[in-house]
Amino acid sequence: MQVILEQIINGLTIGSFYALIALGYTMVYGVLKLINFAHGDFFTFGSYLGYTVLVFAAAFLTIHFGLWGAILVAVIAAAISIALIGVVVERLAYRPVYRAGRLPVVVSALGTSIFLQNAIMMIWGPRFQAYPSELIPNAKLMLGGIQVSLLQVIILVMSFLLMGTLYFIVQKTTFGAAIRATAHDRSTASLMGININKVIFFVFTLGPALGALTGVMVGMYYRQISFTMGWNYGLKAFTASVLGGIGNIPGAMVGGLILGVLEMLGAAYISAAWKDVFVFIILILVLIFRPTGILGEKVAEKV
């Protein structure tokens, strides 16, 4: 029982990583019907920026803001820089290609991904980088007989707060209604007076910012980052967003958490080496029986 609970908590931790990254995929997909293959690299880029802040400015920051302050500064700096990069990428690489349709943008996104990945490699070098372990809290907590690390608790609280905020924005505010309307039908939404460019700007700042922030959390959780890790996380997060129903924001959160928990339970009870196979088989089974994902709505094909 104890092992199951611990595995579920581990699963929820990586699940919240997947969920936060998946939000970026699903928001962009909802608005533009574009699979943003560069999103995984936004995540990596953010992770490296957070690393740089922590390594080079740590002494200065910890004196002025304390340890938690330093981490917070790293997270915020990464999120803001990547939000800017997200907007720039959208303007330079995606916007000129939208009019041509869906598929050319996919190639453009893959090109952007190659570009970003190699830019990261050139800036920080091809080797693994390690987050400074003296800056990362490593306290352990006992919660009702289950051992959890303090970092996990912080990550979970932070992700749930972020997801809650995003859920509130998207489901309860007027601007959120505009986003949902755009995701539902872009041309009609624009006829109703919704500023589509504003919505696109929003998803291309918030998505990458959430990705970057997750990057810093992943760096702190696993201590080690590499310039190719964006592919792996991106793949899982994209899978999570499809599992939840792509384009659906709560779906991405649910999908991410389910994927994380499944992966950890699979690793514990089936086999660590086969856990990814297990995850993808579950995904395929879900899609066979619910072709639009767990929370996806069935959309009738227009004739």
């Binding site: 690489a93 000129p96 050319p104 453009s108 050139m122 088989i281 094909e301």
Partner: protein
Amino acid sequence: MEQALSPEKKSFLKSQPLVVSVFVAAFIVYPFLVSDYFIDIAFFFGIYALLGLSLNIVLGEVGLFDLGHAGFYAIGAYTTAILNTKFGIPILVLIPISALAAALFAYIVFSPVIHLQGDYLLIVTLGMGEIIRQALINNPFDLTGGPNGVFGIDFPKIGEYFVCDSSIEYYFLIWAIVGLSIVGLKSLQNSRIGRAWNYIREDEVAANANGIDSRSYKLLAFVLGAGLAGIAGNVYACKLMVVSPESFTFWESCLMFCIVLIGGMGSIPGVLIGAAFISLFPEIFRPFAMYRMLIFGSAMILMMMFRPGGAWPRKRGAVAFRSLLEGTGRTDA
């Protein structure tokens, strides 16, 4: 009557026989003029051309998103590697066997999911590719050799008289297969099957309404595409003499996807251009060392800005083709 059915203008071969024969002649003469290094580059161009042609059946002709095509390529390569090293079956005999293995796998795996639409099918293909790769790494039944792969694959040979063991022979082997595939695919394009595929791509509902069994035709496309990728895997395995899971990553599938889109969906000359771009570009820009992948990424973006339909888009149905690019018709108008 035949003319009325296929509004395509005369095929390139018939209208420009001189240009085509010059190209073919150049391909034959090329390996005798350059060093082994350049012959090998042209060999990998051939491999990518074959992979591009195979994905083009699924993505270009039928419009099904397939981002797991490297999985079929892997099955072809591993079938060859395992049967050759464990049972000593000759490579050339294994060409059809690899194709059949990949095709059979595609049939079994895609039968239950072929009804999925667009991006949902894409994620299933993607998952399938990852499952295959992970399975190869995990070394089931001690067959695949885990992360190290299988090595010691034989040369293709006919008895003792002809042994294919030099760059130039491999070059002719792959380009002969590519040439034969082009001839076959070209006639398939203008056949009843090719027209049905294109009809499904343009409007599946209308195709169904007109009595096209879209399910079987889509499966057929996957099976043929997988078979061709399996052949590419066979040649790749015997050229490298070793196969390992890292050759068949998601990234390979993405490259194949780009080959088809950069060239122009459903266009055979386009696939050759796309394959040339993907395989030759990094070589040409080798002097730029570290920057070459940055240039490569930017070039992909620029290509899509200036030629969104691909470098050599297919002529027939050029108008309808645009409708596909504009999405599934649900939101983008």
